[in-house]
């Protein structure tokens, strides 16, 4: 067993620097690497490029890095629900590359799986495809999209073991598995870190080979963006 466990977020993020490109898992505020984000805020590094489906809300998730102007460029599919984001984007302080959600997932997966590029139908005929190579297959048009290149991927899982194996929970899975192994270094934070051998090899969502560092996160807030309920009868 190859040991991937580290003490905390501080140790897990050793080596992050100004100007780097990061991938961050999560959909909305669901399944985001809360501890890694806090540590990035604490470290105060800037000029970052962040690949993440969303940009958090004003005071949580990636919104915390936006508040401190640590992010130079966001690559996302949806950035609503964040006033400070919208302000920085419209004023030109923040560079934004909007990418269809499935394309974003697959550009991560391409990096994970050693594919240089993929052909997707998403965005053909729209401004997303402007300047990009397109091609017809079987009468349908596709856009050539390249694999992402990132320095660190920060993901959040439910359970993990010392070998780096990960199990996600519910819809907190989302982009996290696709980003594992898609950057030079993948840092996983988990709610529960167990010794190797305690997770069923059949139930592992992401094998440890895709993870370089793993730690048990602290103080998960797991904020809900749109609490929607029906009344108890």
């Amino acid at each position: 067993m190859i040991h991937k466990g580290v003490k905390d977020a501080q140790e897990a993020l050793l080596g992050v620097k100004d100007g780097m490109t990061f991938m961050l898992g999560g959909f909305g505020l669901c399944g985001i690497p809360e501890n890694a984000i806090s540590e990035l805020v604490r470290l105060g590094i800037s000029n970052l490029t962040c690949i993440s489906n969303n940009a958090g809300v004003d005071d949580f998730g990636l919104g915390l890095l936006l508040q401190k102007h640590q992010i130079k460029k966001m690559i996302s599919s949806y950035v609503g629900e964040n006033d400070e984001f919208e302000r920085q984007m419209l004023s030109g302080e923040l560079e934004v590359e909007l990418t269809p959600q499935g394309t974003l997932a697959e550009k991560c997966r391409a990096a994970q799986a050693g594919f240089p590029a993929i052909y997707t139908p998403a965005g053909y005929g729209t401004e997303v495809a402007e300047g990009k190579e397109t091609r017809e297959f079987n009468g349908k048009m596709y856009v050539l999209e390249y694999a992402y290149e990132a320095d660190f991927a920060f993901v959040k899982a439910w359970k993990g073991d010392e070998a780096g194996n990960l199990i996600f929970k519910g819809t907190a899975r989302n982009f996290n598995p696709c980003m594992c192994g898609a950057a030079k270094i993948t840092v996983a934070e988990v709610e529960e870190l167990v010794p190797a051998g305690q997770l069923d090899p059949n139930e592992i969502h992401i094998p440890g080979i895709f993870v370089q560092r793993i730690f048990q996160g602290k103080h998960y807030e797991k904020r809900i963006e749109q609490r929607t309920v029906r009344p108890r009868n």
Binding site: F27, G28, L29, C30, G31, N53, S76, S77, Y78, V79, G80, E81, E86, M89, L90, V96, L98, P100, Q101, G102, T103, L104, A105, E106, C108, R109, T120, P121, A122, G123, Y124, G125, T126, E127, V128, W158, F168, K169, G170, T171, A172, R173, N174, F175, N176, P177, C178, H205, K222, R223, I224, E225, Q226, R227, T228, V229, R230, P231, R232
Partner: protein, 217 residues
């Protein structure tokens, strides 16, 4: 004229037994409330769940269980969770049978715009570009006109496109329309709405053949 629930109710009639359905944010989300309960349907949400159930009972919401609109949800027996890559494999691979989504504009050749107003609003396309580029059965749910009273069914979209030539059917507060090579073919009128009113609210080519029935809701 229909309200949002009325539009959702009419669209629910398009949902057939055995369909996997992806519902967009807004009016489309309401469709789930009106699907007949004697047919089997599963709702997919592109953030990674198949087999969505109703919203949770107050106090039982789970932060790790949301839909693509970030709302807390529940799951039904037979549900499954999966990652974003597999989720869009379902969509791109045409395993989802019906996609229902909102729009700011639709053009008579089936183009759709729903993600950006230059210089004003940019929320992003989310999964909409993947959905419209892949789905073979797309229904747009929207108001026939915008708040200023201008038609949203146009000859050509003025806003940045989400997808080209992909919309098949549109259900608005005024009408049900099919997109055919010649333009918007009027299929049904909302209760109490005249063909003339629909014509007046439609900038794109409207095709009216014979008597147009009122919707049966």
């Amino acid at each position: 004229m229909l309200d949002k629930n009325g539009i959702a109710k009419r669209i629910a009639k398009e949902v057939k037994d055995g369909y996997y359905v992806n519902l967009g944010i807004g009016i489309p989300t309401l469709v789930a409330n009106f699907v007949r309960n004697d047919i089997s349907v599963e709702f997919q949400s592109e953030n990674g769940v198949l087999g969505m159930g109703p919203f949770p009972i107050d106090g039982e919401e789970d932060a790790d269980l949301i839909n693509a609109g970030k709302q807390t949800i529940t799951t039904l027996p037979g549900a499954s969770f999966f990652d974003s890559a597999l989720s869009f494999s379902m969509i791109r691979g045409k395993h989802v049978d019906l996609t229902i989504l909102g729009a700011m504009e639709v053009s008579e050749n089936g183009d759709i715009a729903n993600w950006k107003i230059p210089g004003k609003m940019v929320k992003g396309m989310g999964g909409a570009m993947d959905l419209v580029a892949s789905a073979e059965n797309i229904i747009v749910a929207m108001m026939h006109t915008n708040k200023a009273g201008e038609s949203k069914l146009l000859k050509r979209c003025t806003l940045p496109l989400t997808g080209v030539g992909c919309v098949k059917k549109i259900v608005t507060n005024l009408a049900v329309l099919e997109v055919i090579p010649e333009g918007f073919k009027l299929l049904e009128r909302a209760p109490g709405v005249s063909v003339e009113a629909i014509q007046n609210a439609t900038e794109g080519e409207l095709l009216v053949e014979g008597d147009i029935p009122e919707m049966d809701l």
